[in-house]
Amino acid sequence: MSTFVEEKDKLPGWNRPPVIEPDGDGELLEVAMGPHHPSTHGVFRMDVALDGERVIRLKPVFGYLHRNHEKLGEGMSYLGSMPFTDRLDYMCPLTNNWAYALAVEKLTGQEVPERAEYLRVILGELTRVVNHASAIGFLIQEMGASGTPLMYAFKQREKILDLFEALTGARMMVNYMRFGGCRVDATPAWLGAVRKVLDDLPQFADEFENLLRGNEILMARTQGVGILRPELAVNAGVTGPMLRASGVNYDIRKVDGYGIYNRFKFRVPLGEHWDVYDRFMIRLLEMRESFGIIDQALKDIPGGPIMDPKAKLRGFRPKPGEAYGRIEGPKGELGFYLISDGGPNPYRYRIRPPSLINLTVLEDMCLGSNVADVVLIFGSVDIVLGEVDR
């Protein structure tokens, strides 16, 4: 069954996808890229209509990983939903936890102690390093580099995952943040281990850059490909490295200043050419900025408690009301919208998934380019299906 809706989609409008006319007669080749596809970052399908090599129409289709997380959240207590947030964007479980904890803290007005905020920043930035290194690695693999840069990135990821395991008990599904602080305190030994890993990371970033940045094949394949205009990016709700690669200076860590981010000095890299190469370079530069933030946090972390002393583990019933809390996740703006009716379970538990909303412009970027570029453009959006489908 064709998923193309031909008449309605030819609506005029500056924020609608362009209409590409095929040149020549003949039928268009309709290809389903996915859901069994090595390059689609999960179970994801794109219905593509091709004229030779050029993409004429493209419609993304997903929902293969839909677990109705939002309904589960309505049936579970607030604390019980925390392990499920790990499984949303499963490459960055700590930032997912943080977003949910932030939303609940906005709803109830709880205070988070200093040490917990520093720990959150350290873990959040380590997660950002892991995510950006893996994203670049996967993008390069899709270009055909058969996994060498990916494995270099994963070598560092292993070290960081070992750090997570030593602190929280699990490599990925950490279930670490709580409403009002963190679950487990960090020992000085652990902070020393973070310092040791951090000392090796800039050398890894240099190696990565040497391997990739000047590589002519990479430049030829990614420069000028998948251009996203800044006005369209803002109107389409795109956030994260994709938005900054289109030259828009919007980083929620600087805008909202949630947690204690306004104490750290870090720069926000912006792109000039709005293409895939910019998105890849932005991720590399943001990784370097994260090293600086972790370094500052390790120097300044105070002692003290890690949980709000008035926080309750069981019988947590926030007063009726609603709140929307968001963070700058590695993929974009991850937000949680909670409506509480005074009971132990939330009345409405909504996750604002950055990957899903970043996919809105996939069509715009891919139309008119070659099919081989579709894989690259899609890889530069950096999605995780757990978040798109929830």
């Binding site: 069954m1 998923t3 809706v5 309605k8 989609d9 609506l11 409008g13 924020n15 609608r16 997903f62 929902g63 839909h66 109705n68 939002e70 309904k71 906005k106 709803l107 109830t108 007005g109 369209l232 803002v234 109107n235 389409a236 709700g237 795109v238 956030t239 828009v248 919007y250 805008v255 926030p318 007063k319 009726p320 009301g321 609603e322 709140a323 929307y324 968001r326 703006e333 937000g335 919208y337 409506i339 509480s340 009345y347 409405r348 909504r350 604002r352 899903l356 909303i357 996919l359 809105t360 412009v361 489908d389």
Partner: protein, 228 residues
Amino acid sequence: MKTVEEIKAAIEAAVPGAGVEVVPNPSVSGQHSLRLAASHAVEVATFLRDDAELALDFLSNATGVDWPDKEVSEKVKVTRTVSKIVDGTEQQVEETVEETRKHVVPGCLEAVYHLFSVAKKHGPVVIRMKTANRTDQVHLPSLTPVWRSAEFQEREIFDLFGIVFTGHPDLRRLLMWEEFKDHPMRRDYVEPDDFEYEPTAHDEVLKRAQERRAKLSAVVSGQEGAGA
């Protein structure tokens, strides 16, 4: 940034006749919302996006909420004339009785939008729209022509809640498959009875598993009885 009342005043000045009301938010977050009437919603949204001061050019989150029908019982004092025997003779006497009256407050489906400004770096501004009821009048104007990011999110609201957005360029199901019938995120959604073998069933699933086991064993014993 302006407060909610100031934004309401600005909207009413720019779009006359727009039915805007403030919905206060009792929680500490202070994120009060504005309820828009469906008739002028697209105009109001365009004003919010293009206004020089507000510049709400970024739609961050669009979601649906289901408010099911509520049965409300209230005690009402009713005065009635009844014939009663007073002092041996039948007379018409006024009697005041307290009655419990039940009536159903019709539910609705609601669409909530969170707006931010990338140009001015402020937000959030929360706007809401309500449908008339949950059964047949479930149409709302689509804000996709104003903010493109509503495209997939309104499709998801249509898929999971059932709100039909008029003016949406491509309203199909997003997360469920095309032939699926019900709307899963509604509060009265009943899951299909195809749960797998659950060794540690609880609550609802345990009850249904026990009922099914009882039914199956009744069928089996019935067959055995008939065979023997």
